[in-house]
């Protein structure tokens, strides 16, 4: 089966998922992102790489924060950035996803940054571009359903490498709603590919996918056990609509059992770092004392995110 992310030479054509990408590609992206972090410190925070290229942020699902980071990244690469909030426009009028894509292609798009509420939507777009011979247009997945959020996964890996230098002797715990989390899936794929020997997930059984062990993780239901001696704690966001119902009884109970507090964090290694993809629910999945504490690297994640997205975009757009 043709991997739609890679061209016939095995080079990255689109960034759709971290699952199935070889370690060499992941490492190359992280290495490339490194020099981009320096650009933010300059007087002129702009590089000419994507000059004359049009990057379309096509968001079928609203997300101001993610869209903004992609926008900044593209603008720092000198691209023309067009933001389309499709959630409120064409698909509501009965236009199909591929109609929308065809229309944007006619506007000479060079790259689509796609956010969609349905898993796999960016694959459909990439496949459509392939089938219609538009091989020069690139697709970056900015989050699809529960499936993947590859740039978030990459910036998380970049952050871990920044603080921990090496992946090969780490224990990493991912905590919270793994079932509905595209972030968790991208993190698991990247961590296992990059050689982290122990990736743990900690969650109630209602928030874990069936057969999650098959992804190469160790399952814990208890925070005290799961956090023991970990080097990295990656918290997941709990969506409001899942807090009261058949998945969880209440946010209070969730916080009591799975919320990250200083007391629970004390089970981890003293130099453990705490990450969160944002936006945080303080008092639900994370206590403010942890979020604002010395072990949190949540803001550096955001900064690194721009460099990582610049790296991805410039690796895709050239050639």
């Amino acid at each position: 089966m043709r991997n739609p992310q890679l061209n016939e030479h095995g080079e990255l054509q689109h960034l759709l998922s971290l699952d199935g990408l070889p370690k060499s590609v992941l490492t190359a992206i992280l290495d490339t992102a490194e020099p981009f972090t320096e650009v933010a410190e300059r007087e002129v925070k702009k590089l000419p790489l994507l000059r004359g290229k049009s990057v379309f942020n096509v968001f079928f699902e609203n997300s101001t924060r993610t869209r903004t980071t992609f926008e900044i990244a593209a603008k720092r690469l000198s691209a023309d950035v067009i933001n389309l909030n499709v959630a409120t426009s064409s698909t509501k009028k009965g236009e199909t996803l591929l109609d929308t894509v065809d229309n944007l292609c006619a506007m000479q798009a060079d790259m689509f940054v796609v956010r969609h509420e349905s898993s796999g939507a960016p694959y459909l777009i990439a496949e459509h571009l392939h089938n219609t011979g538009r091989h020069h247009i690139r697709v970056v997945n900015a989050g699809d359903g529960r499936h993947a959020h590859p740039t978030q996964g990459l910036l998380d890996m970049f952050t871990i490498r920044h603080y921990k230098k090496d992946f090969h002797n780490l224990t990493v715990a991912i905590v919270g709603d793994v079932l509905h989390s595209r972030v968790a899936r991208s993190q698991i794929a990247a961590l296992t590919t990059l050689g982290v020997p122990e990736v743990r997930v900690i969650a109630p059984r209602t928030l874990l996918p069936t057969d999650v062990e098959r992804m190469g993780v160790r399952v814990f239901n208890d925070m005290h056990e799961g956090l023991k001696d970990v080097d990295v704690v990656m918290m997941l966001r709990l969506q409001n609509e899942r807090m009261n119902g058949a998945l969880l009884p209440s946010p209070q109970e969730f916080f009591k059992v799975w919320g990250l507090t200083m007391e629970k964090l004390a089970r981890a290694r003293p130099d453990a770092i705490v990450m969160h993809p944002g936006p945080m629910n303080r008092g639900v999945e994370i206590d403010s004392a942890v979020a604002d504490g010395g072990q949190a690297v949540i803001l550096p994640q955001v900064t690194f995110g721009i460099a990582v997205r610049m790296a991805v975009m410039s690796m895709l757009a050239g050639s």
Partner: protein, 166 residues
């Protein structure tokens, strides 16, 4: 072809540059050979401004056709560029495109008072109106396009020129 000895060219370059060095002159080496060279020049000239380095990958004009260079390095300009006289250091001057990219990048950090170029070898084949103020050696005959002249650094730190035929 007999290549000139890099170490003796380095000394010649130091002597050319010395008269024009001021207290605030800064060197910026271009990755990778230019940085090795700049490190040696910095020491030999006894400059006080910290050494800068630049990877021009993000400014190359062949990005559109060749894509991003693999493994770009971090640029680092550890001094205030505004008002500073700067010498860009590279091992080999060829088309001038790398120098163009370095100039562009440098100006994104600020406005230097002047910029000069120092190279070990001018191999000819210029495609842009660029000349080196300091140049240790100019090849009598320009090299063919499929030949590549590169500075190498052996484990003891000694610099050597290498010719690669594609």
């Amino acid at each position: 072809m007999q290549l000139p000895d890099a170490e003796s060219m380095l000394h010649a370059l130091v002597e050319q540059m010395r008269p024009n060095m001021t207290a605030d002159t800064a060197l910026v080496g271009i990755h990778t050979g230019g940085v090795w060279l700049a490190e040696r020049l910095h020491k030999a000239l006894g400059l006080t401004q910290p050494l800068g380095c630049i990877d021009v990958s993000f400014y190359r004009d062949d990005y559109g056709s060749k894509g991003l260079h693999p493994q770009p390095q971090r640029s680092g300009i550890p001094f205030d560029v505004d008002g500073t006289p700067i010498v860009i250091v590279d091992d080999v001057l060829y088309t001038g495109r790398t120098t163009r990219a370095a100039l562009n990048e440098l100006f994104d950090y600020g406005r230097p008072s002047r910029v000069d170029l120092a190279v070990l070898v001018d191999r000819g084949g210029r495609e842009l109106p660029i000349a080196a103020r300091y140049c240790a050696h100019t090849l009598a005959e320009p090299l063919a396009a499929d030949q590549s002249l590169q500075l190498e650094r052996n484990p003891s730190g000694k610099l050597e020129l290498g010719l690669i035929n594609a």
